[in-house]
């Protein structure tokens, strides 16, 4: 039976982890390669890097990190942030990423998702959708970390990216992100019910029960979290043991 995945996400800025692990055994709290290795050794099903570097000049830095991480972590590696061109994707895949996540560029032109999935295969194209509730039962796609409203309905957009060859959707609730109040399960359910590709839940995890909610009530195939793991509140293994105790199938 296919297992539900737990994916820790590391935010990287100018080559350093900004929201990172606070474990005591870390030699260097800002080194993304070291942290990815800890997660991978701890049972992470995949590793996700989100490059939040503002300038294009620093693209090389993330490439270098991906190269080093891929030589030490033998679980799938997804890299997102600033992926705008076919060349960006080529560079990341050659460096050792297994998947790339496309956000703003997909909203600007969904044809880019089509072009990328035709060229590299759907298996490595993840579309990251940032959604915010605008009225009852209605969510809209936002870009630039929730600052820019696009007017695009999230269900319509999710269907569009699926048709255009996305292999997975990484769905972040901008209302919940950073709040630790749990995933937006209503939003998740809406998207998992209306698409046939795996959906990764993101934004809002504060307790282990939130993982359960995202998977069981939201229908997510995978759950992504950052701070709950970074600050050592829970280890990945604990999250998996908790889910297993509630009859959710995980890889242990």
């Amino acid at each position: 039976m296919l297992k539900n995945r737990i994916i820790p996400c590391l935010d990287v800025k100018n080559g350093r982890v900004v929201k990172g692990i606070n474990f005591v055994e870390l030699k260097d709290a800002g080194d993304p390669v070291e942290q990815a290795k800890i997660y991978s050794d701890g049972g992470a099903d995949e590793i996700c890097f989100l490059d939040i570097t503002a300038s294009n000049e620093n693209r090389e830095t993330i490439i270098d990190i991906v190269k080093k991480t891929a030589k030490e972590c033998f679980v799938p590696l997804t890299v997102g942030g600033g992926v705008r061109t076919i060349q960006n994707i080529t560079d990341l895949l050659l460096a050792g990423a297994d998947k790339v996540s496309i956000n703003t560029a997909a909203v600007k032109d969904v044809g880019f998702v089509n072009e990328a999935s035709k060229k590299f295969g759907s298996q490595c194209i993840v579309v990251a959708i940032d959604a915010k509730k605008v009225s009852n039962n209605k969510w809209e796609v936002f870009t630039h970390g929730g600052r820019n409203k696009t007017g695009i309905d999230v269900v319509e957009f999710a269907k569009q990216v699926e048709t255009n060859g996305a292999g997975e959707i990484l769905l972040t609730s901008m209302d919940r992100d950073g709040t630790k109040s749990g995933y937006d399960v209503e939003l998740l359910k809406l998207i998992t019910d209306n698409t046939n590709i795996p959906v990764i839940a993101s934004g809002g995890v504060g307790t282990l029960d939130h993982f359960y909610d995202g998977i069981v009530n939201g229908g997510a195939s995978a759950v992504l979290a950052a701070s709950i793991f970074h600050y050592g509140e829970y280890k990945i293994k604990e999250a998996k043991e908790y889910l297993k105790s509630k009859n959710v199938s995980v890889r242990l």
Binding site: A70, K71, F74, G96, C124, G167, E168, I197
Partner: protein, 208 residues
């Protein structure tokens, strides 16, 4: 020992290179090439494959003499070859991804879309699933039954002769996830992305 990872422009093979490099360290001479003479003189071959069946077959056929060389190596001379993902799927006679496409025809059978029971199961089949070992296999030495492997695919290989199947996995139906015949091996899952247990499979292949 010389092991060649066939680079025929079939998409992203960085992870295959990284994992084999890790396992081969100091023991095996690893080459990544599409050079026919180097392939001919190697002891083992790894045939990766990403993207669609059609795109992989097309890329392989684009390199003059490659298909024949691989056939001579694996089928006529029966030297060890490991196909991964679409690399395995290409062993079939025919594939139906994008368009009906002739495969290498090494193991009779076809590659068709996984029946997801009208959307009841999501596709691609992405993530970690357990393998159920169906027969003793040289590459599964010290691999426990029901070990987790990483999958990402929407199409499955259906061989005519079921005795080639070395493991299956349970999704919308029992999916063939590895085959073995003589020295021809194939995995639908990605050993190179399957953590330490995947590296063990690579090690088993390199130690053959």
């Amino acid at each position: 020992m010389n092991v060649t990872i066939v680079d025929y422009q079939s998409g992203n093979i960085s992870s295959v290179i990284n994992s084999f490099t890790e396992v081969a360290k100091g023991k095996v001479n690893l080459e990544v090439t599409s050079d026919i003479n180097k392939i001919k003189s190697s002891d083992k071959i790894v045939l990766p494959g990403q993207g669609s069946f059609k795109s992989c077959v097309d890329s392989l056929n684009n390199i003059n003499g490659l298909a024949e060389t691989l056939k001579e190596f694996a089928i006529i001379n029966k030297k060890p070859l490991l196909g991964i993902c679409v690399g395995l799927q290409m062993f079939a006679d025919v594939g139906y991804e994008e368009a009906e496409t002739k495969g290498l025809g090494w193991i009779a059978g076809k590659v068709s879309k996984i029946d997801n029971q009208n959307g009841k199961f999501k596709l691609p089949h992405i993530g970690w699933n357990e393998i159920e070992i169906q027969k003793e296999s040289k590459i599964f030495k010290d691999i426990k039954n029901k070990s987790h492997m990483y999958f990402v695919h929407s199409y499955e290989f259906i061989p005519e002769d079921k005795s080639v199947i070395s493991s299956t996995t349970d999704y919308s139906s029992k999916i063939v996830c590895s085959v073995e015949r003589d020295n021809l091996f194939g995995t639908q899952f990605h050993p190179e992305k399957s953590d330490k247990i995947g590296l063990k499979i690579i090690d088993n292949f390199l130690k053959l």
